[in-house]
Amino acid sequence: MLETRNLNKTYGLNRALTDINLKVPKGVIFGLLGPNGAGKSTLIRIINQIIDADSGEVLVDGQPLAPKHISLIGYLPEERGLYKKMKVWDQMLYFARLKGLSQQEAKKRIHNWLAKMEMSTWKDKKIEDLSKGMAQKVQFISTIIHNPPLLILDEPFSGFDPVNAEIIKDQILELRNQGTTVILSTHRMESVELLCDQVAMINRSHKILDGTIKEVKNSYRPEVFRISIDQPTLPIPTEWAVQTDGESVHFTLPLSGKTPNELLIELMNYGQVSNFQEVIPSMEEIFIHQVKSTQNG
């Protein structure tokens, strides 16, 4: 769906993007991760044709990015913006028409969406009279009103209470299931693990890792196992930092060059192994680890 090749962008002396190569396949939720100021917003702005890259190219379905692609993209910026004095209905209509929908089609879709989100009664309210969460919903609908095959969401859950965040999450998943490609920029890792199929992480203008969630997690496995032994028959070595819980002991061990099976056989000598589980890092841990290591390096 979307591909970037050797994208570079500098602002004065600051490098915002350095040789960014990304491949976003069709119909996935692609997490774009990175700390603040890493270059995510710059990348998103380039894809949205708000700014131009200094070098490199962006391909949409294999074609170089061009103004005609505007209607294929739905963009929800991190900093939400609506005309405070405009009515919900007028506002949505304006954004929908700017994305190229006809008046008639736009009206029909807004009507359906308002009904779907149970917002029909608000349509003549001014944005300034809405709560923040309501306004966020208006913004979200405005973003997807033209059924874009590519959706770029920058921190889509900020400003929502848990109930509404759930509604938005369901909408995103539903859109993905209908074939929409979603680029999700966030630093909320729990939503990444729940939603994303693939991720790319950017730090200090460089891409520091990418792949499917599974690939990323696999490559960052610390090869450590969490072990529980019931009623140990042999004394457990003290350097294993055992936590005792009644009859059971719990501890973690690195593989240290052994295979998991070899380790398991060794452990079986100490008693009944009731838990033998590899420690899988969360995306958050990987994120923090990666950011720290690139900063130190």
Partner: protein
């Protein structure tokens, strides 16, 4: 192009639908006839409710005579100045005019005593009566009958006619031309300031509420900027049109009603005491002058300079709005916009209307930053075709230049937050290619 049209529509409708627009549009024209009505009403009331004011006159020359009017009666007496002053103090007399023994060649010491300051009309009435009497007396003394002098007195009225290349003659009158230039110039000046500011506010609103990020992902910044400028121009034109219609009708109605209430004689008295009386032939002449004015060319050039000036400055206002985060930060960049406007405004009064064909007037009406205001001061006097053409061409070029300049600033400015740019950074934005 479709998208620019959408932006224009939004900018136009969102403003025209506002209650404040409706109020300003409907109430402002009411102000002029209302002020006129109040003045006329006060004058009429004053005339009707006035009690006769008696003025004591002590003339030690036994020479003067004042004709009493509806408002003032003059009582001549031989009382001493002290007694007369006492009358004023007691409130028995409105005032006391003291004429001591005077040298007719150099009359001095004539004094008016009153409990309050005498009105301008009373002072000028007294002065002109005294003056006339003294002059008449001196004529007698020189052996000239004032009647003869009055017969000799001739009024010369210069009729001015403009000749164009085709030999068509037109009666012209500098006063009428002055008024047209004055009005048109001020209107353009006000329009540029009021609506230029609206553009700036609009841009700042979109920028500070971050709507712009969504907008520029759908259309080019330049389209957004032009859509806003043109949309607001539409608002201004709408307002102007409504004003013209409303002011026209209301003024006609109000003057019509009040004109009937106010007897002709009183209307005359209200005017200055020694004003030259307008007779019918002069009135006809004014009509002739108005008929001689080429309204089509004035109106078409007014619309041209009205829009041209607005577009030229509107782009600058948009550029400034895009560079700052809040209206209060805009001050530092306003100088290059306000200075030429004020120069044009001052120039209109100091140079253009005084001498429309001077070199300064010429340049003021050619340079695009000042021409929209300055040229309007000249148009009604008649401007050579090539000068008008040159000025218009320059204005179009100027508009393209400021739009290009503003577009460069706008494109970068609207996405910049939290930094207070200086002229240096603006210059960097202008130079940068993307």
């Amino acid at each position: 192009m479709d998208k620019i049209w959408l932006v224009i529509q939004r900018e136009y409708l969102s403003r025209v639908k506002k209650k404040s627009f409706l109020l300003a549009t409907l109430l402002t024209p009411l102000i002029f006839p209302a002020i006129m009505a109040i003045f006329v009403w006060i004058a009429v009331e004053e005339k009707e409710n006035q009690s006769l004011r008696i003025i004591e006159v002590v003339d030690e020359n036994k020479l003067f005579f004042m004709e009493s009017s509806q408002q003032y009666a003059f009582s001549f007496s031989d009382s001493s100045p002290e007694e007369a002053k006492l009358l004023v103090q007691n409130g028995d007399r409105y005032g006391f005019l003291y004429i001591p023994k005077i040298d007719l060649k150099n009359p001095q010491g004539i004094t008016f005593y009153g409990e309050e300051n005498p009105s301008m009309s009373l002072v000028s009435y007294l002065e002109s009566s005294l003056k006339k009497k003294i002059e008449d007396q001196r004529l007698y003394d020189s052996g000239i009958d004032p009647q003869i002098l009055s017969d000799i007195r001739t009024s010369v009225d210069l009729k001015s006619i403009t000749l164009n290349q085709k030999g068509e003659e037109k009666v012209s009158d500098a006063t009428v031309n002055y008024a047209i230039g004055f009005l048109a110039g001020i209107l353009i000046y006000m329009f540029i300031f009021i609506y230029g500011n609206q553009i700036m506010q609009g841009v700042i609103e979109e920028k500070s509420s971050r709507i712009v990020e969504i907008l520029v992902s759908s259309l080019k910044p330049f389209q957004l900027m032009m859509g806003k400028i043109v949309g607001i121009a539409g608002v201004g034109l709408t307002q102007l049109l409504i004003w013209i219609i409303l002011i026209g009708t209301l003024t006609t109605v109000v003057t019509g009603i009040l004109g009937l209430q106010m007897p002709q004689e009183q209307a005359m008295e209200l005017a200055q005491a020694d004003m030259i009386q307008t007779d019918n032939s002069e009135f006809a002449e004014i009509l002739q002058v108005i008929a001689g004015i080429d309204f089509i060319s004035i109106i078409s050039s007014f619309i041209f300079y009205f829009l041209g000036g607005y577009l030229l400055y509107g782009a600058l206002f948009a550029g400034i709005g895009s560079a700052v985060d809040a209206p209060s930060d805009a001050q530092q960049f306003m100088l290059p916009v306000t200075v030429p406007l004020i120069v044009a405004y001052m120039g209109l009064f100091v140079f253009v209307l005084q001498d429309p064909n001077s070199t300064t007037s010429f340049w003021l009406s050619i340079i695009p930053l000042t021409s929209p205001i300055a040229m309007m001061g000249r148009v009604s006097y008649g401007v050579p075709f090539w000068e008008l053409g040159l000025s218009m061409l320059f204005l179009i070029l100027g508009f393209l230049a400021t739009t290009w300049l503003a577009g460069k600033i706008y494109r970068i400015g609207i996405l910049m937050h939290g930094t207070k740019p200086s002229y240096k950074t603006l210059w960097k934005w202008i130079k940068s290619s993307n």
